[in-house]
Symmetry: C2
Subunit: 237 residues, 2 copies
């Protein structure tokens, strides 16, 4: 039996790896991306390339109007994206790049699509190691969402046995960035297609990664730690 | 201390009553409505009138693209809205008017707005009596959402004590339609402003309620049971 799954695909390194993992497990993958007013809209172009390269049965981009709400450096032009923070600073509290209820919203859209597609698995690239400051990247949160999802939906309520329950699959939640990259390399993920930077910089040959935001720093260090050549085009190296 | 609350306001009878209840409890109310491709878009006009009449600090209408997903008679033109079903039929299983993960999506937007507004209460007009077939109107679902919400958000994680926890408030979840109407009448809700019909019928003087869909039938019976004059303009009576 082929099993369908919904994959939340941001265009970043993490969710690209998760898509490749779901494909390896034999899932027919329906990718779901979000245009939520993020500064780094270039990541949606990355999502398209990644979906095509790894292979999905469908790919939807949904408009989510979070700008109207504000409250995050990723969606609010009035809040600056921090640069050049060290590891200690990054691990302190919840960063300004936290978008209120973002994963809850995205998983909810994933749940709606899963129900329509009769997919019982929703894959998400949440990671509690690098993003320890984001409450909605933690395993206890994901577990609570899964419990809620099974009470929320027709498929959850009518599920007969564990096989039919809704599952929030976060296969990289406890992996280091280096381990994620190693897994992706094993699966043939082309990381040059992915985009991580929160603060893209214009360049003649298209946007380049800033190299200094939290996300760039975590990505760079991941490639170094994994001993894999970093294919990212940074504005300066 | 004035407390802020987010109110999910559909324009229907239930959420109008809930808004009035939240106002009576002293909450500063931020109303949130959704344009989700529903056939009965006229309910958004009703939501505006209700918000104005009862009084809100703000009222946002968010676009939620559920039509791209399909799967419900309320958003998919290919699925007919049932008419003239009796109570036994209505109470059987999950109706085709169920919209996949709708309340989960709406509550997630409510949670995002609540976090930006620093509101700890999200009021929702969910009702498990009339809508026993909708999984996402049941108290156990709402409880699970609340648990998840407190793990999902900065305000939930940082809450000091019960007062600061996120609360999903569903004050009419166990009330009969007649009791809801009686409560609304006590609070001065003008039900002529509200809209319930799933299948609006064109008429010279603006859309009228069909009178036969589940929602119309439940509403009509509610006014009869409450012994209150029904101000709804039906296409035929």
């Amino acid at each position: 039996m082929t099993r369908a799954a919904v994959i939340l695909l941001s265009g970043g390194l993490d969710s690209a790896t998760v898509l490749a993992m779901a494909r390896e497990q034999g899932f027919v993958c329906h990718a779901l991306s979000f245009r939520y007013g993020q500064r780094h809209g270039v990541e949606l172009q990355a999502a398209r390339k990644v979906a095509e390269a790894i292979g999905t049965a469908s790919h939807r981009i949904v408009d989510v109007d979070l700008r109207a709400f504000g409250g995050s450096a990723l969606t609010d032009d009035g809040i600056a994206v921090p640069r050049g923070r060290d590891a200690a600073e990054m691990s302190e509290g919840i960063p300004v790049t936290y978008v209120p209820a973002r994963n809850t919203l995205f998983l909810s859209y994933g749940l709606a699509l899963a129900e329509v597609m009769n997919a019982r698995s929703i894959f998400v690239g949440a990671n509690a190691v690098d993003y320890s400051g984001y409450p909605d990247c933690r395993p206890e949160y994901l577990q609570a969402f899964e419990t809620m999802a099974n009470l929320a939906t027709r498929m959850g309520v009518e599920a007969k046995g564990d096989d039919e329950r809704v599952r929030i699959q976060a296969p990289i939640v406890s992996l280091s960035k280096a381990d994620i990259i190693r897994e992706g390399v094993r699966l043939g993920v082309d990381y040059s297609l992915t985009w991580s930077c929160y603060d893209p910089q214009p360049a003649k040959d298209g946007p380049r990664a800033c190299g200094g935001c939290d996300s760039c720093q975590i990505r760079r260090k991941g490639f170094v730690d994994a001993d894999v050549v970093d294919p990212t085009r940074y504005i300066s190296t």
